[in-house]
Assembly symmetry: C2
Homo-oligomer: 285 residues x 2
């Protein structure tokens, strides 16, 4: 769709052509269908909703943005994003608010969505880049937690995120929303076999630290200045014993007060920022 001849000849076509207003139109239903994993996998596409995610998609991965849909609210409030999209040759299609809502999984798409090609990369390309800080998600089922951890990995300057086959889909709309554009910022591998990964990380001398409340040493007692991977599991059930025992060490986040635990995203934030500080110092850049 993005590179159809009309769009290339007339980058402002959307402004001239009538807005999509029929919620039952085939192309509206085709976008809405991307709320389902099966449709995403068959078509190799996913939806980024809201101005922040769309802006990052356009800025960082314009070649992977197939089409943008904007209602009058989105067109009125997000001129710069839409101009950048058109400058990059991305088709922008006007819709009614009702059509945009019908395409979305969120209740508040804030006027914009982008249909994107999947952005995950092969594990080999990540490991070939001599990474110093990796995040491994194994059996993470909650999409909000997964997306927030991806956002935190991005903020902490992690080299990549690696997601195991038992975890939530990277392109689940709630994961995309919680990650607020980070899908387009750092390499992410999916459907990775975790036991095989842990073996390979060992061969590459990348230390593997499983986060768990029961670790004998805390995140502040481990040397984080050498290459390492944080291995995070499901909040409620923890990690399978086989994964825990395959990691070099189980590392805890100290709980100084009376709270019994942290949620996964908070524990990940503590670990990732301890790593960032050790690797990069007290300031970014």
């Amino acid at each position: 769709m993005r590179l159809d001849a009309a769009a290339v000849r007339r980058p402002n076509a959307s402004d001239a052509s009538p807005a999509l207003t029929n919620v039952k139109a085939e192309r509206v239903r085709a976008v809405a269908a991307l709320g389902r994993r099966s449709a995403r996998e068959r078509r190799g596409l996913f939806v980024a909703e809201g101005p922040q995610a769309v802006r990052e998609a356009v800025a960082c991965r314009p070649g992977d943005v197939r089409e943008i849909f904007a209602d009058s609210d989105g067109q009125g409030r997000h001129h710069e994003i839409l101009r950048a999209a058109r400058d990059a040759g991305i088709a922008v299609r006007a819709t009614s608010g009702e059509v945009l809502a019908a395409m979305c999984s969120t209740t508040t798409p804030q006027g914009l969505l982008a249909v994107c090609r999947r952005v995950d990369v092969p594990l080999d390309s990540i490991l070939a880049g001599t990474p110093r800080l990796l995040v491994v998600l194994t059996s993470v089922r909650d999409p909000g937690n997964a997306g927030t951890v991806i956002r935190g990995a991005d903020a902490a300057g992690a080299d990549a995120v690696i997601i195991g086959s038992a975890s939530v889909d990277l392109y689940n709309p709630k994961v995309v929303r919680s990650a607020v554009g980070s899908h387009f910022h750092l390499p992410i591998a999916v459907r990775v076999d975790i036991p095989a990964l842990l073996t390979r990380l060992g061969e590459l001398s990348i230390a593997t630290y499983a986060t768990d409340g029961s670790g004998p040493r805390t995140v502040y007692e481990v040397d984080l200045s050498a290459p390492h991977a944080w291995v995070m599991g499901n909040e409620a059930w923890g990690m399978p014993e086989s994964v825990l025992s395959a990691c070099d060490e189980v590392v805890g986040v100290p709980l100084y007060g009376r709270a019994e635990s942290l949620n996964l995203a908070m524990a990940a934030t503590v670990c990732l920022f301890a790593s960032a500080r050790a690797l990069h110092g007290p300031r970014a850049g």
Copy 2:
């Protein structure tokens, strides 16, 4: 209700008396009404939903638990919590699953809820305790974020949480759920006038650090071993200029990668754990 004579004489009364099954019963509607702030304030009560929050209420503030309701699932799975409640003289009332759901604001109360007296304390009692680590929430509107910050403050061993008058209600069911029992763990003051508070903290030589992306120094460059308060604002709008300028310093969380920001709960987690490490060292206790 809790101390009625029958309950005192027969701590297992609930097991003998018939389960509450009428969703339209006055006492069911009275609990459900606590989902509304006006009813909570008029009656001085709130609802803690789910086994973790109920367990912490019973363990830490048994005198403030008015009554516990449990459906057959909750009775079957949470013997220990219910035994502790009865041992503390708290009335436990059996309900149908339908009644428990009608009382709750969450979709999954997991079998248990407690009606509790409000637990906030006067600001003066917090400041009289020579606190070393405080969290101040000003204009925080998102209940999930507020609850998660309270949980994080608890985990980091903060001495108290202070909530300004423009923030979400401490007893909003989503705040209580996200805090997972921390309401019962550390002192919390509410409806506090923030400008007056900042003046008082200055008089007490407690440094006030506003968290904001734009701070000249980062959280890792400030001396956190002396008494201080983290002042956190609304994620989307930041803090009012008047609050920012009244704090001793605006302190940033360094963003090492390409993410544009952290959400409030993540930023709070980074700041609080940096404080905990500086105040308490790399291990808890």
